[in-house]
């Protein structure tokens, strides 16, 4: 459903890299992206296909970082064990975009605030940058401070233009990153249950926990970025 990137280039840990000059050599490989365990891509063999996500493709080499393990304080999100390193998504075919999409894409990207209808477990969430998102469930295996990347969306729009997927957009067309803020819970709910002819009221309590997210980035990739990442322009078959 979502890909998880523990360390992106622009976020807090690079401060750490500056901090420790001895480690800069090892930490220049960005461990960027991790698919949730549902995707069955392997981390060890980087795909040889021309990837559209070349930046993320660097991350498929498991970073060697024994020095990080021994570091004491401050421990940041960079200290992720090797087996939990993010795995880059592997695409077998390069991204194909139609000519008409390429011609109208600059109009979408030049209009600045964007919204996205990201889907998570088949529920749509209309998000803009900086929004608070309280998922209606507790997301497993995430810690506060993690950066996730939503890779399923049906709409990506600006004020006048909307990029529509059929039914979903290819994840290489956009970037939507969220950060895990923590876990929130609701007040205790008490449900009174009664049975017939039984003079007893059963009280069922429940208190669910929810994951809090914050949208860090909603971005439609421009034509230059798509071409740099190896997108193939496809002629319109019907037209």
């Amino acid at each position: 459903m979502f890909s998880r990137s523990v360390l992106a280039k622009a976020f807090a840990p690079p401060l750490e890299q500056v901090a420790r000059p001895s480690l800069t050599a090892t930490s220049t490989t960005f461990r960027a992206c991790l698919h949730q365990s549902t995707t069955t891509t392997s981390a060890t063999n980087p795909p040889t296909e021309p990837l559209s996500a070349t930046v993320r493709a660097q991350s498929s080499i498991p970073a060697v970082q024994p020095t990080f393990q021994t570091s004491t304080t401050p421990v940041t999100r960079a200290d992720v064990p090797a087996d939990k390193q993010p795995i880059a998504p592997a695409f077998t075919t390069p991204l194909k975009v139609s000519q008409s999409l390429l011609s109208t894409l600059p109009q979408l990207t030049s209009q600045k605030p964007h919204y996205i209808t990201a889907h998570l477990h088949d529920r749509p969430y209309l998000l803009t940058e900086g929004d608070d998102l309280r998922l209606p469930f507790l997301m497993p295996n995430v810690a506060p401070g993690d950066v996730l990347r939503f890779n399923r969306a049906s709409l990506l729009g600006s004020r006048d233009f909307t990029l529509k997927g059929s039914p979903y957009l290819d994840e290489r067309l956009f970037e939507c990153r969220v950060r895990v803020l923590g876990v929130d819970s609701e007040p205790l709910r008490v449900k009174e249950k009664t049975k017939r002819r039984r003079r007893h009221v059963q009280q069922i309590t429940s208190k669910h926990r929810y994951t809090l997210l914050r949208v860090m980035e909603v971005k439609a990739k421009s034509v230059e970025e798509l071409q740099r990442e190896g997108a193939i322009v496809e002629e319109e078959a019907k037209a």
Binding site: Y115, D132, P144, G182
Partner: protein, 137 residues
């Protein structure tokens, strides 16, 4: 003066740029004598060190509170505090409670219906009957 500036203050969006964990302090209270603190004492002896090392951004205080049940108190950046009583709990259960306090935002528990809250202006604007698709009469 043709135009004047109205002073305002930027509003915080924790996590968009930098992320700051909302839990700033955890207080552990225990009793040396009482049996309900047995798990807590074991937790303090064996697991607290590793927890503190993993979460350097949380200040940790340990203090005895004789003849009382063991309590963990989390202090949050918004000034609120949350306390969890951990009497008769096993160290693993206490660890879960500590994690719960650590990940919490410190806000009062509220039931919300809408998943997304935004402080941005609407991207496509608020619908108005005077714009778009005007019918000439």
């Amino acid at each position: 003066m043709p135009v004047q500036g109205i002073r305002s203050v930027t509003s915080a969006r924790n996590g968009v740029g930098a992320f700051i964990l909302q839990c700033k302090r955890l207080d552990f209270h225990y009793c040396d004598w009482a049996g309900s603190s047995r798990g807590m004492v074991s937790f303090l002896k064996h697991q607290l060190n590793a927890f503190a090392k993993q979460n350097p951004q949380i200040e940790i205080r340990v203090s005895p509170r004789p003849h009382k049940h063991p309590v963990i108190k989390g202090h949050y950046i918004n000034g609120r505090e949350k306390a969890v009583c951990v009497r008769n709990l096993e160290p693993e259960q206490i660890f879960q409670k500590v994690n719960l306090l650590k990940q919490n935002s410190g806000e009062k528990n509220k039931r919300t219906k809408k998943p997304v809250t935004s402080i941005n202006d609407s991207v496509r604007g608020i619908w108005s009957p005077y714009h778009g698709g005007l019918k000439s009469v």
